[in-house]
Amino acid sequence: MELIYEKSKPGRRAAVLPRRTVPAATIPSELRRSAPPRLAEVAEPDLVRHFTELSTRNFGIDTGFYPLGSCTMKHNPRANERAVEVPGFRDLHPHQDADAAQGALELMWRLQEILAEVTGLDAVSLQPAAGSQGELTGLLLMRAYFEDRGEHRSEVIIPDTAHGTNPASVTMAGLELVDVATDERGNVALDDLRAKVSEHTAGLMLTNPSTLGLFDEGIVAITDTIHEAGGLCYYDGANLNAVCGISRPGDMGFDVVHINLHKTFSQPHGGGGPGGGPIAVRGFLEPFLPIPAVTRDGDRFDLDAHRPLSIGKVRGFAGPFGVFIRSYAYIRRYGPRLREMSEAAVLNANYLLKHLREAYDVPYDRICMHEFVVSAQSLKRNHGITALDVAKRLMDYGFHPPTIYFPLVVAEALMIEPTETEAKETLDAFVQAMLAIAEEAREQPDQLHEAPRSQPVGRLDEVKAVREPVLRYLFEGHPRRE
């Protein structure tokens, strides 16, 4: 399809600006452009058709099954949107006095209470904008805590299955990385962990269940090992969808947890946000949480900025409020049955795993949690078909591909997370597609290398995209058509 710039005709407009009734501002000549910006010039019908057509090229959870591992692409209930549109929430201004925002503050306070209960911890800050910022906030809290105690601890231990954000957050927080290996059952290798802890250990960052979709069988021994060395335990809540109402990070021994509201508690995501990454902590870390804190005094709710030990603000105002409303609405609709959400997510994942093992390698042969990793290693060895080929071919069957080549400890990895909101028929159709692709790999491997064939664009040249990136429209190559 043509780009909007290619549809441009000089003089066409989709809107007419009102006549100016005030004097024009004087802009210093050095700040003025020498020529007007080259904006696309189109009439409204063309504008509407252009963007409507673009929207039909999109794939989202509203158009199909989206089993992107570790991303928890679940259905976003429309009731959430009704809650967001309540005028008292929708029309609120972030500078409004607490007196005039009692309902909003109460919702935030209640959400904090729920998240403290779900994580098994004492205090919550809703402020971080996403999981990655939750990680950084959590690590800055750990740093502030040790500085306050006069301890010099700089090392954070991270397993080789960790999300890439974990080592990035450690580096951004000015701390040092120490790797710990994974054992043959997919757990953290305890011997290696015991060899890595020392008086320099600030803590551990762990996702449980891990990115392999496995609940660590030695979880208490792991957190005990860190605590005995004087460190703190950070729980990456990316996979919290597996355990809500069943087991709690606080009970596993974790001191700091971030929660991906947009994943576990439903908020449209995948296009860049807005996300929500609240953190929950043990009581002894509460004084270091970001300001302002949402507090309750009887029937009165407030924003409290008086926390002398706080690490400060990590985001503007009180956090991504729209996300809070949707997550609160989502959780309240489950109520005390929240564990059914996680149970169904785990059941769906195990149902898929059981059927896919016929045709794909299973590197860690265990009951999985809400997601699992299979490998295309045998397909590659026997037929030259890689995880990338399988993923691209799935698009021809109408499914979004799973996460591939992650975690790095599994060769030719395909990481699949169905979530709880998919019906058995959808899961069965996905199984049929995956088995059909494995069959195609044996019978007609060359066709798989060309997939996808039914999509607006075919196989993209990822190597060229990295080596010769074109990041903007090249006006130089497209002279203005008069």
């Binding site: 060895r381 080549y405 992650f406 790095l408 060769a411 990822e462 190597v463 995209a465 990295v466 080596r467």
Partner: protein, 131 residues
């Protein structure tokens, strides 16, 4: 074995899929056919600085493919004498010729006895077969 797969007998290997070609008290380092195959097409090579130290078992640089960024794990310790600037300009050389033009650095060995802990080609092939 897949097409093009080879593990020359004159090299020594570590379990992180790096090789060393010994010449007196120097060694040339690179990554194995298996490593470049697992990575896929390499799009960037981040070398160490000439004159810097590399330590056996620790990272001395990075290679990046469209799939992942991977640490280069030094099989031997020493001081960097040279880095392969041609690979910096054309990282795909690592895929095309991992044992020849795709070499990564040359070092002066600081502890030649470390060679004893490396695998020969037969042992590395058995190690790969177990993976």
């Amino acid at each position: 074995m897949s097409r093009g797969e080879s593990y020359p007998d004159d090299l020594r290997y570590n379990r992180d899929h790096d090789w060393a070609r010994l010449a007196g008290d120097e060694a040339v380092l690179g990554i194995t056919w298996h490593a470049q195959d697992a990575l896929g097409e390499v799009v960037h090579y981040e070398p160490p600085t000439v004159g810097g130290r590399v330590v056996a078992g620790e990272s001395y640089g990075e290679v990046e493919s469209v799939k992942a960024v991977s640490d280069l794990i030094a099989p031997l310790s020493g001081v960097v004498l040279a880095v392969n600037s041609e690979v910096m300009n054309a990282p795909e050389t690592i895929n095309a010729d991992p044992y020849g033009a795709g070499w990564l650095i040359r070092i002066a060995l600081s502890d030649p006895a470390e060679v004893g802990s490396l695998l020969d080609a037969a042992a590395y092939r058995s190690f790969l077969a177990e993976q």
